[in-house]
Symmetry: C2
Subunit: 179 residues, 2 copies
DNA sequence: AGATATCTATCTATCGATAGGTAGTTTTTG
DNA sequence: CAAAAACTACCTATCGATAGATAGATATCT
């Protein structure tokens, strides 16, 4: 069935979490936003850890789908990397918000264990995809280069948030290495 | 005088804030940690906004002193950039924690105004220093390159936190551009 | 004595979480 | 087929814990 309520809970929670991290979203605030009671959210997500974990999982899944689409587009390396960067750029530009898992990573130490794990899985998926792309295009040290690119994306988003201007993302981004 | 208590409040607050951001440190927790009562902290820092702002200011000041020291070392570009990266690397390795202002930047939207301003000043100081270093060494587009380098540092820290391993910082870091 | 620093005690607001209830739908069973 | 049971998706009400903040008393130090 994939209840509409659950989707709205997730959407609201993601919105809040991407603004200020794990401690910046609450059952009450979500409830108020979508017009139900906070107790009802506990019906769908027993604990906050549970909700945040689901949040990270769905976020990762959504990203993975985009990654798959880029792969299937069969563009050249430069094109695929550009499309990849756009994923982060538009996540920033459209929502004016940080990457959910980027924020979670920054506050890793205070996250419940399941959320930590889900967050790490996001980063692993990114690195795996990038590494595969690079190595199939004959780039040496593909794995390390993948880590660099991912750091570049997250760092660029963070700087853009610091100055509240998505232009900084474009400035901070660097895809010239493989030209 | 520069009260010892104030320093201990700041140290404890920084420790907590660098673990989980603005909402991850509290007057009560700081008080417990340094052995006083939370009301006593309000005597030194009237509000949480005030404390967090002071936190960011001192953090920036400390960083600026290091930057000055690097400048005065009069090493070549490559050496100074390496020393610069070490600032972030050791902040990560020694404390096992994220950059305070990096974390604040990520959650910019939920920060009180003064904290936002203080956070932005950290980034501006970094970019100014980097840009000066690059342009005096004949690098073109020094300002944009400075933004890239800063994003690289913050991104590398974030990735390292994601995997709870400082090795990822070294992997994510890229100073090869100006070789 | 007066300034500085810290205390006790308390307030209001909010947090995640739980207990128990209910209307409506679906499934099971005699 | 219809009654009984169970389930879904919410609700109200409340819990203990914690948040930042304040007033006023007390201690310490010059």
């Amino acid at each position: 069935m994939s209840s509409d309520t659950i989707d709205r809970i997730i959407a609201s929670a993601e919105n809040q979490a991407r603004s200020g991290g794990y401690n910046a979203f609450s059952f009450r605030e979500i409830a108020k936003e979508i017009g139900i009671k906070s107790a009802s959210i506990h019906y769908h997500f027993p604990t906050k850890e549970n909700l945040a974990t689901e949040l990270a999982k769905r976020y990762t899944e959504k990203f993975n789908q985009y990654l798959l689409a880029i792969t299937e587009s069969r563009g050249n390396l430069q094109q695929q990397l550009s499309d990849y960067a756009d994923l982060f750029y538009f996540a920033l530009k459209n929502d004016q918000k940080m990457c959910l898992c980027g924020l979670f990573a920054a506050e890793m130490d205070v996250l419940p264990e399941d959320v930590q794990t889900a967050t790490r899985l996001f980063f692993e998926a990114q690195i795996t995809w990038l590494s595969t792309l690079l190595s199939t295009n004959g780039i040496a040290s593909a794995d390390t280069e993948a880590v660099k690119l991912l750091a570049n994306m997250e760092g660029a988003m963070l700087i853009a948030k610091a100055f509240d201007s998505e232009d900084y993302f474009k400035r901070a981004m660097d895809l010239t290495v493989y030209k």
